[in-house]
C-alpha cells in the first residue's frame, strides 16, 4: 500500500511537471482579446470531451445490458424511472470525476501560477462530464430505438471507440497533410483563426469559463445542468423498458449446415486455434478495442503514405508505434486466450498435453496480431524493406513477450472479466507488459535508425522478461 502511494505521488508529480511545460505561457491570457488562445483551449476541451463522451457511452451501454441486479430493481417498489434517474446521475458523476482527475495537473498549475480564480476550471470540467453523460444517454437510446437491442451493444461500443479516437485522429491527419508531422499546429493556423466565430460568441463560453470568465462559468454550469436534467427527464422513464428488452434479446444465430470443412482433416492444435480465433472474432468489446488500436494506427499509416509519396524518410517513426500497439493488443489477446478460458475443465481433461494446449493458444494470439499488423508492415515495405523487417520482427517479439508475461501470471478467469483484467491481474504483470512493450518499441526504433545503442533497451526488455519469469508463481 505504501509503495503504491509513493508510485502514485511520483506519477502525479510527473504529470504536474508535464502540464507546467505545456500551459505556462497560456496562464496570463487576456480572455477578452486572445482569440487564438481561446481556440486552442477549445480544441483541447473538445479532445477531452470526446474522451468523456466515449467513456459515458461505455457506462450507459453497461447499464443497459447488465443483468446483475435487474430482477431485484424491477421487482422492487421503487419506480424504474427513479432508479434509472439515479443511475444516469451516477454515471454523470463518475464521468465528471474522471474528467476532473484528467484535468487536475493542468488546473493545479494554473492555480499556482495564476491564482485561485482558476479553481473554477474544476467546475467547468465537471460540467463537461455532465454534458457528455447527457449526450451519451441520448445517443445510446437513439441507437437502441433505431437498430434494436441486439445490435446496439456492439455498435455502441464501436461508436464509443470511434468517438474517443476521432478527434485525436482527425487532428493528426490534418497536421500530417498540412504540416508533415505530428503536432497541434492545425489549431493554431491563421486560416482557422480567420474563419471561426468572433471572440464574444457563445461557442467560446466553455473556453472562456476555463480561462476564468465568471459569467461564462455560470452559463456553462447552467446549460450542463439543464441538458443533464432534460436527458434524465426524457429518457429515464423508459430506460427500464429498454433494459428489459435488452435482457430478453435472442442471441445471434450462426448459419451452419454441417461440420466446418476446414476442420474435417484437423489436428487438435488446429481445432484449439480455430476456437480461439472464433471467440476473438465474436467478442464485441474486443472488436471495439482492436478497432481503436487500428484507428490509432491510421495517422501513422497516412504519415507513411504522405512521407513516402513526398520522398522523405521520417517514416522510421512508425516502427516504434507499430511495436507498441502490437504489444498492447497482444497482451489483451493473450489474457483472453490463456486466463480467460471459459471451459478450463474441458480443455484440461482433453487428451492433449498441457504444453500442446499452451502452444496452440500462443499460436492463436501471435496469428491474430500478425493478421492485423501484416497490411501495415507490408505497406512499410514499399518505403523500406529493412524497416518493414524491423517492424515485423518488433511486432512479433513484442507480442511474444506480452504473451510470455501472461503465461507467467495466468489466472483462472472468465472472458467476461476482460475489461477488469488489470484489477484482477498481478500488478507486476500489468507493469511488466507495459514496460516490455516500451523497451521493444525503443529497440525497434534504434535498430531502424541503424545505431548499436539498440542493445540497451533490448537488454532492458530481456531483463524485464527474465525478472518476471523468476518471480512468477509456480504453475499448479
Amino acid at each position: 500500500m505504501r509503495n503504491f502511494a509513493i508510485a502514485l505521488i511520483v506519477f502525479a508529480g510527473f504529470m504536474h511537471l508535464l502540464a507546467y511545460s505545456m500551459i505556462r505561457r497560456y496562464v496570463g491570457a487576456d480572455v477578452g482579446h486572445e482569440l487564438a488562445t481561446i481556440v486552442v483551449v477549445t480544441g483541447i476541451m473538445l479532445l477531452l470531451w470526446s474522451l468523456l463522451l466515449a467513456q459515458a457511452m461505455e457506462l450507459i451501454t453497461r447499464v443497459l445490458y447488465s443483468r446483475s441486479d435487474l430482477d431485484l430493481i424491477l421487482t422492487s417498489p421503487v419506480s424504474s424511472r427513479k432508479i434509472f434517474s439515479v443511475r444516469i446521475g451516477r454515471i454523470a458523476l463518475e464521468v465528471a470525476f474522471f474528467a476532473m482527475l484528467l484535468a487536475m495537473p493542468f488546473i493545479d498549475v494554473m492555480v499556482v501560477l495564476g491564482g485561485a480564480r482558476w479553481l473554477v476550471a474544476y467546475g467547468v470540467v465537471a460540467a463537461m462530464g455532465a454534458v457528455a453523460a447527457a449526450f451519451a444517454v441520448a445517443l445510446t437510446v437513439a441507437l437502441f430505438r433505431t437498430i434494436g437491442a441486439k445490435r446496439t451493444r456492439l455498435i455502441a461500443q464501436i461508436v464509443a471507440a470511434v468517438i474517443g479516437a476521432a478527434f485525436v485522429i482527425g487532428l493528426q491527419i490534418a497536421a500530417i497533410f498540412s504540416f508533415g508531422s505530428f503536432s497541434l499546429a492545425p489549431i493554431q493556423s491563421a486560416w482557422l483563426i480567420g474563419h471561426v466565430p468572433h471572440v464574444g460568441s457563445p461557442v467560446w463560453w466553455p473556453a472562456r469559463a476555463v480561462l476564468g470568465d465568471l459569467t461564462a462559468v455560470i452559463l456553462v454550469a447552467a446549460i450542463s445542468i439543464v441538458l443533464l436534467g432534460a436527458a434524465i427527464l426524457v429518457f429515464a422513464a423508459r430506460f427500464g423498458d429498454h433494459v428489459v428488452a435488452a435482457a430478453a434479446v435472442s442471441f445471434a444465430v450462426v448459419r451452419q449446415s454441417g461440420w466446418s470443412s476446414s476442420l474435417r482433416r484437423r489436428s487438435a492444435s488446429r481445432v484449439l486455434r480455430h476456437k480461439e480465433w472464433t471467440l476473438l472474432r465474436r467478442d464485441p468489446w474486443l472488436m471495439s478495442q482492436t478497432l481503436m488500436q487500428i484507428l490509432y494506427l491510421l495517422p501513422p499509416a497516412l504519415f507513411l503514405w504522405h512521407t513516402f509519396h513526398n520522398g522523405t524518410d521520417t517514416y522510421v517513426l512508425l516502427v516504434p508505434m507499430l511495436v507498441m500497439a502490437a504489444g498492447h493488443l497482444g497482451g489483451g489477446l493473450a489474457w483472453l486466450s490463456i486466463s480467460g478460458e471459459d471451459a478450463a475443465d474441458l480443455v484440461a481433461t482433453a487428451p492433449l498435453s498441457p504444453q500442446r494446449i499452451v502452444w496452440a493458444k500462443i499460436e492463436a494470439v501471435v496469428g491474430a496480431v500478425a493478421l492485423i499488423f501484416a497490411p501495415l508492415v507490408a505497406a512499410l515495405a514499399f518505403a523500406s524493406v529493412k524497416l518493414a523487417l524491423v517492424a515485423g520482427a518488433g511486432v512479433m517479439i513484442a507480442t511474444a513477450s506480452a504473451t510470455l508475461i501472461q503465461l507467467c501470471f495466468r489466472t483462472q478467469a472468465r472472458r467476461s472479466q476482460f475489461r477488469h483484467r488489470h484489477v484482477s491481474s498481478s500488478r507486476i504483470a500489468t507493469f511488466g507488459e507495459a514496460f516490455s512493450s516500451i523497451a521493444w518499441a525503443a529497440t525497434s526504433a534504434l535498430i531502424a535508425t541503424g545505431t548499436w545503442l539498440a542493445l540497451f533497451p533490448a537488454l532492458i526488455a530481456i531483463s524485464i522478461l527474465g525478472g518476471i519469469r523468476l518471480i512468477s508463481p509456480p504453475v499448479t
Binding site: V254, W259, H274, D345, A350, P351, L352
Partner: protein, 265 residues
C-alpha cells in the same frame, strides 16, 4: 434400484473393472481424501454420496485428471491414469456442476470443437452430435450462440459435449444442480441410456432420491474415506435397518463413528 441376487453379486465381480482407485490421498490444508479405495465395474451406474466436504469432488477431479493425487493409484480400464494421463483422458469424460461452455459458440460448434480435441472421425462425430442434440432437445437451438441459454440448456450442451466422443467412463460432479425437473429427467435418461449401451458412469449427488433410482451401487464417503459401499439393500443391511430409505441409511452411516473404511475388492 434393483436388489442383487447372489448370482448378480458373483457376476459383478466377473465384469471388467472400469475404474480402480487404490490408496488415493490428497491434502490441502487438511486431508481431503485419505487412503481411498474404490472400484467401479464396466456397465455400472455408480453414485458417490457424502456430506459436504467429504472429498467427493476432490476424488472425482483426481480421477478425471484435474488434480494430481499426493499418493495412490488410479486405473481407468487397463490404463494407469497417473503414468499415461493422455490415454486415460481419451476414454473418459468429465462434467462438473457448473456447465463450462463457450458463450460465443453454438452447441453445434461446441460439439465440433470437443470432437476435434478427442480426434474423433468427423463424419462419425457429426452424426453423433446431431443425435445427441436431438435426444437432449437442443436441435432447435443447435445454431444459436450459447450466451442466451438457460442453465438447464447449458448443462445439456455440456453433457452432449461429454458424450460426443463416446467415452467409456463418464465422470459427473453434481450434474443435476440447478436443473428443472424436465431437464433433470432428460439428463438422467441419457445417462441411463449410456450405461445400458455399455458405458460406465460415476457421479456425485446430494439428491439421494436420484441415487436411489439410478444407481446400481452407491458409495458413501466421509472424511475422505469410503465408509460404505453396495446396493441399497446391502447398505441397509450394514446399518441393520432393512426397511430404511437411503436418506436414513446414509445419515446413520455418516453419523456412526465406528464405521471402518471399505477395503478394496
Amino acid at each position: 434400484m434393483h436388489s442383487p441376487t447372489p448370482t448378480a453379486i458373483m457376476s459383478r465381480t466377473r465384469r471388467p473393472v472400469a475404474l480402480a482407485v487404490r490408496g488415493l490421498a490428497k491434502r490441502f490444508d487438511r486431508p481431503a481424501v485419505d487412503a481411498l479405495d474404490l472400484t467401479v465395474y464396466g456397465g455400472e451406474f455408480y453414485v458417490l454420496v457424502g456430506p459436504n466436504g467429504a472429498g467427493k469432488t476432490t476424488t472425482l477431479r483426481m480421477v478425471a485428471g484435474l488434480l494430481r493425487p499426493d499418493a495412490g493409484s488410479i486405473t481407468t480400464g487397463a490404463i494407469d491414469a497417473l503414468a499415461d494421463p493422455l490415454a486415460a483422458k481419451q476414454i473418459t469424460a468429465w462434467l462438473s456442476d457448473e456447465p463450462m461452455i463457450y458463450d460465443k459458440l453454438t452447441p453445434f460448434e461446441y460439439l465440433e470443437f470437443v470432437a476435434g480435441l478427442w480426434r474423433i472421425d468427423s463424419g462419425e462425430a457429426e452424426a453423433r452430435a446431431r443425435e445427441l442434440l436431438g435426444w437432449l432437445g437442443l436441435e432447435p437451438h443447435a445454431h444459436e450462440r450459447c450466451e442466451g441459454f438457460s442453465r438447464g440448456m447449458r448443462q445439456k450442451v455440456a453433457l452432449a459435449g461429454a458424450l460426443v466422443h463416446d467415452p467409456k467412463l463418464i465422470i459427473l460432479d453434481e450434474p443435476l444442480t440447478g436443473l428443472d425437473a424436465g431437464s433433470a429427467r432428460v439428463v438422467k435418461n441419457v445417462l441411463r441410456e449410456r450405461v445400458t449401451a455399455g458405458g460406465t458412469v460415476i457421479m456425485t449427488t446430494h439428491i439421494l432420491e436420484v441415487a436411489e433410482r439410478l444407481a446400481d451401487r452407491i458409495g458413501v464417503i466421509a472424511s475422505g474415506r469410503l465408509i460404505a459401499e453396495g446396493t441399497l439393500d446391502e447398505l441397509r443391511h450394514k446399518t441393520g435397518k432393512t426397511a430404511a430409505s437411503l436418506e436414513e441409511t446414509f445419515l446413520t452411516l455418516v453419523a456412526d463413528p465406528v464405521v471402518q473404511p471399505v477395503a478394496a475388492e
